[in-house]
């Protein structure tokens, strides 16, 4: 009896020591950093696996994945076909995109007389950011917001000055809903804005909006919720005005499930479904399909499986929208593809 006990104890100790030596390096997106570090911390306590994650930005994360300097990457924008091809030729393996949590971009504004719950359509929103709708009492805005007091004030547009995934999602949405935006400005982490001033980071944009009456800008949902910023309800594809909430963001992913491509590289802006918030987005972990190190491959698969199931319960508390069940299933299938060469 005693002998058995010591053997088991020994195995546990040895395995925990082995696990403690396991260290996974990652780099990439700043947006999911808060929940990732929570996950890494909780998972480390559970299993002893150490994570070293540097939130250097999505662009940097993709570069490091291509160069093979990390075990996994993270990005708010899916890798382009060209980047995947480059990774394939340099690393000799496919890159898998695993959606981990969801976020959204909200349109925030500063109109003390008008109060909360401003309604906007994609067309009006685009024209505001194109500089075509210049005043808050423009008939195109007032007709959407009957009974609201909209002042005769110039619209002041605030946007991100630093390259960011938030901008990429927002301009991606505008490009989807407006051909004019697509042709004139387009989608990117930084774009050539037709109007407005740039603030650095979410806090920069929020600062501009908070301080300027008549301002409109966009920030991450998490940031808007944490700081109590007012946000606009946007008209979605189904024709309903939807406010950004964790539920309406998760709905957007569920609404996209039928059109989900096999590699899960999809921008879910302007999603179908009656309660979907239109500017929602996934954030991805980027992992190698064929890994050289057996231990690492197992560790990363186990971690991912845990993150997309149990880990999701941390999401709302940290202001992220959890993945809908349908996407979790797709994730699990994808994770089982990770192999050792």
């Amino acid at each position: 009896m005693k002998f058995k006990f010591f053997v088991i104890l020994g195995i546990i100790m040895v395995s925990s020591v082995l696990n403690a030596q396991m260290k996974l390096n990652g780099a990439g997106a700043t947006f999911p950093y808060v929940i990732y570090s929570k996950w890494f911390d909780v998972y480390h306590q559970k299993t002893g696996i150490q994570f070293n994650y540097q939130s250097i930005g999505s662009g940097g994360g993709i570069k490091q994945v291509i160069e093979g300097t990390v075990d996994f990457g993270a990005s708010d924008a899916p890798m382009t076909d060209q980047q995947l091809k480059e990774a394939q030729s340099k690393r000799g393996t496919e890159i898998l995109h695993i959606p981990t949590v969801m976020g959204a971009v909200v349109v925030t504004y500063n109109l003390p007389q008008t109060g909360k719950g401003l309604k906007l359509t994609p067309e009006v929103l685009t024209d505001i950011f194109l500089g075509k709708v210049k005043k808050w009492n423009d008939p195109r805005i007032t007709s959407l917001n009957k009974g609201k007091n909209l002042p005769d004030k110039a619209i002041f547009v605030a946007h991100r000055s630093d390259g960011s995934g938030t901008t990429n999602i927002f301009t991606g949405y505008l490009s989807k809903v407006s051909n004019e935006w697509k042709n004139k400005v387009g989608q990117g982490t930084s774009v050539n804005w037709p109007v407005g001033l740039g603030g650095k980071g979410n806090e920069g944009v929020a600062g501009l909006v908070k301080q300027t009456q008549g301002a409109i800008g966009y920030v991450e949902l998490a940031y808007a919720v944490q700081n109590g910023l007012p946000y606009a309800a946007l008209k979605n594809k189904a024709g309903n005005f939807v406010e950004p909430t964790f539920a309406s963001v998760s709905q957007a992913a569920a609404g996209f499930i039928k059109n989900m491509p096999a590699d899960l590289r999809v921008e879910i802006t302007n999603a179908g479904g009656k309660d979907s918030y239109p500017i929602s987005a996934f954030t991805w972990l980027l992992v190698y399909k064929n890994m050289k190190d057996k231990g690492k491959a197992k560790a990363i698969s186990d971690f991912l499986r845990w993150a997309v199931t149990e880990g999701q319960k941390f999401a709302p508390g940290l202001y992220y929208a959890p993945l809908p069940k349908e996407v979790v299933k797709l994730d699990e299938k994808k994770i089982s593809n990770i192999t050792v060469k």
Partner: protein, 341 residues
């Protein structure tokens, strides 16, 4: 032991009785080394070469940096040629890159800040060195030097939360109300923009120019001032004499300040509005070279984009070099003129 060595040892004040054996060994060694290095003292030789290697290390560092930036910006240089400097379009989505608005913004904001702060600094320095009682001089000098120790992010926050609201609500409306006929005071008052950047830069470069100017003025011998007074000069005339004597030093101080203004990144980024636009109007937003690097580098996705940003860094590098060269030239010509008189 030959006479020459004995003389040298006597001159160095070394005891000839103690440590005889070690000394003779040392002397033998030194003679051997001396025969290798043509009569120079061995220790001196090591010292000289060590310092030389330090100096060359710095030189090599500069060369490597320049070379790296040049090679990394080659794709952009080949693609755009001189158009990079003359074009004013910065569109990361279409991959059209022109750096003119950034070059303009850097030069305009720095030179304007220099103009204001040199006036203020020289005034302060004159007061401190010529008029102020010692106790007041100490207090003011300490305060001025304290300004230099404040991190630039703090200046940036001061800009966002104090300066910009003040400019937007009070200064800019007043200026454009009374002086709108002067083109530089025309435009919409946002608070954030060129004028905010210029004022922040002015505060940031004040300490360096003030304290150097004061030190230089105080270095003029008191006898010279007394001589001038004895000849019946007024206080004003004495100050002019002091100033003209130290013209080159004060110019040098100003150029040091300009160097800091050109390279300042964080504080400027936070208040300038970050809009690549060429406008002489002070209320309009602008953009500087350092700001665009700070903003866009981490999320620059394509190779050409990164390369264009590195070319901006290269231009900034060259600009700093040119400024320094011009500074030397000015100082030299002024000194020469003065020494001829």
């Amino acid at each position: 032991m030959d006479i020459k060595n004995r003389d040298r040892d006597l001159a160095l004040g070394q005891s000839r009785t103690s440590l005889f054996s070690i000394k003779s060994m040392y002397n033998t060694l030194r003679r051997m080394a001396g025969s290798f290095f043509s009569g120079k003292n061995f220790g001196d030789l090591v010292f000289e070469n060590l310092t030389r290697s330090f100096a060359f290390f710095l030189l090599v560092l500069v060369v490597i940096m320049g070379y790296q930036m040049l090679t990394q910006s080659m794709p952009s240089i080949e693609r755009f040629g001189w158009g990079f400097i003359t074009s004013d379009t910065w569109d990361p989505v279409q991959e059209k890159f022109g750096a003119l608005p950034f070059i303009f913004g850097t030069l305009f904001s720095s030179l304007l800040a220099l103009l204001i702060s040199v006036t203020l600094s020289i005034g302060t320095a004159i007061f401190l060195s010529e008029f102020a009682p010692p106790w007041l001089e100490k207090i003011i000098s300490m305060m001025v030097e304290l300004l230099a120790a404040i991190p630039s992010i703090v200046y940036g926050l001061f800009g966002i939360f104090v300066l910009a609201p003040f400019l937007r609500d009070s200064a800019e409306p007043w200026l454009s109300g009374h002086f709108a006929f002067i083109p530089i005071f025309d435009g919409a008052p946002y608070g954030f923009g060129m004028i905010a950047a210029v004022l922040i830069l002015t505060i940031m470069i004040l300490p360096i120019i003030t304290s150097i100017s004061r030190d230089i003025m105080k270095s003029i011998p008191q006898a010279q001032r007394e001589a001038a007074f004895a000849l019946g000069a007024t206080k004003w005339e004495v100050v002019t004499i002091v100033l003209s004597g130290e013209r080159s030093g004060i110019l040098g101080a100003a150029l040091l300040g300009l160097g800091r203004a050109v390279g300042e990144t964080m504080a400027v980024t936070m208040v300038i509005g970050n809009r690549p636009e060429i406008s002489f109007a002070l209320f309009d937003p602008g953009y500087t070279m350092a700001s665009v690097l700070a903003n866009e580098f981490s999320e620059a996705t394509s190779q050409l984009y990164t390369s264009a940003l590195i070319e901006i860094a290269l231009l900034l590098f060259i600009m700093t070099f040119l400024l320094n060269a011009v500074a030397r030239l000015v100082v030299w010509s002024v000194t020469r003129k003065y020494s001829k008189v």
